[in-house]
């Protein structure tokens, strides 16, 4: 079973609103990363948060990490049509040889 699971699976909001996506994982991690994937394209790295960090910001993005609950959230503020994409979390538990991706949240911004 996959390490990360995003919630919700799909989200539609009006342009200008904030979008929040959640990621839950099963085992302890070294870091958690968020990626964006536009339709038919590869993934683009957004932000990396280490296990000893609780919150990180990058422009309109805010990521939180709660290791006690094994969960992370990605907040996109003041959403734009260009934010329409799928968003994936990926975890690195340091013990194996792979970065494990979640199932993704498909975000649609309605103009």
């Amino acid at each position: 079973s996959q390490q990360g699971e995003e919630d919700p699976q799909a989200l539609s909001i009006q342009e200008g609103e904030n979008a929040t996506m959640n990621c839950s994982y099963k085992t302890s991690i070294n870091n958690l990363q968020w990626y964006r994937q536009n339709s038919g394209r590869g993934l683009v790295h957004l932000i990396l948060i280490r296990s000893n960090e609780r919150e990180k910001h990058s422009g309109r993005l805010r990521v939180t990490l709660d290791t006690s609950k094994k969960s992370s959230s990605l907040l996109i503020t003041a959403s734009r049509a260009a934010d329409t994409a799928s968003y994936f979390c990926a975890t690195d538990n340091g013990g194996n040889e792979k970065l494990t991706f979640g199932t993704g949240t498909r975000l649609t911004i309605i103009p």
């Binding site: 070294n30 590869g42 990396l48 799928s86 040889e97």
Partner: protein
């Protein structure tokens, strides 16, 4: 955007054909990866490499093979394509993390090859 390139972008091929998906990066990254992704689904690691002459299988069983003769080049080959191989194949690279197996560095992805086997 990262300098990692995949060709072809789209490929439709008949059952039984041998195909090679190309992946090249100009960033000098030692680590490279191949992921398989069905539409709307998560990514599954099928192969990775720590550097030249290093190749490892990922956690998703795959009938494909890879080679790493040059740092910048990580091609994936299917000896005999089948309809079950229809999927999107994504190549990625990263800088070394803190020791082998570490993924502290973010991955840089190509735009993928969408393969259809008829």
């Amino acid at each position: 955007e990262a300098d990692i390139y995949q060709t072809p972008r789209y490929l439709v091929i008949g059952t039984g054909k041998k195909i090679t998906l190309e992946c090249s990066q100009t960033m000098g990254h030692d680590k490279m990866y191949w992921y398989q992704q069905d539409p709307g689904m998560e990514l599954h690691l099928i192969h990775y490499s720590y550097g030249v002459n290093s190749t490892e299988k990922g956690d998703l069983s795959s009938e494909s093979t890879v080679s790493r003769i040059r740092t910048e080049h990580f091609p994936l080959t299917l000896e005999s394509a089948r309809p079950s191989h229809t999927s999107q194949y994504l190549c990625a690279s990263s800088e070394d993390g803190q020791g082998i197996g570490s993924y502290n560095s973010p991955l840089h992805f190509g735009n993928g090859t969408r393969l259809t086997v008829t």
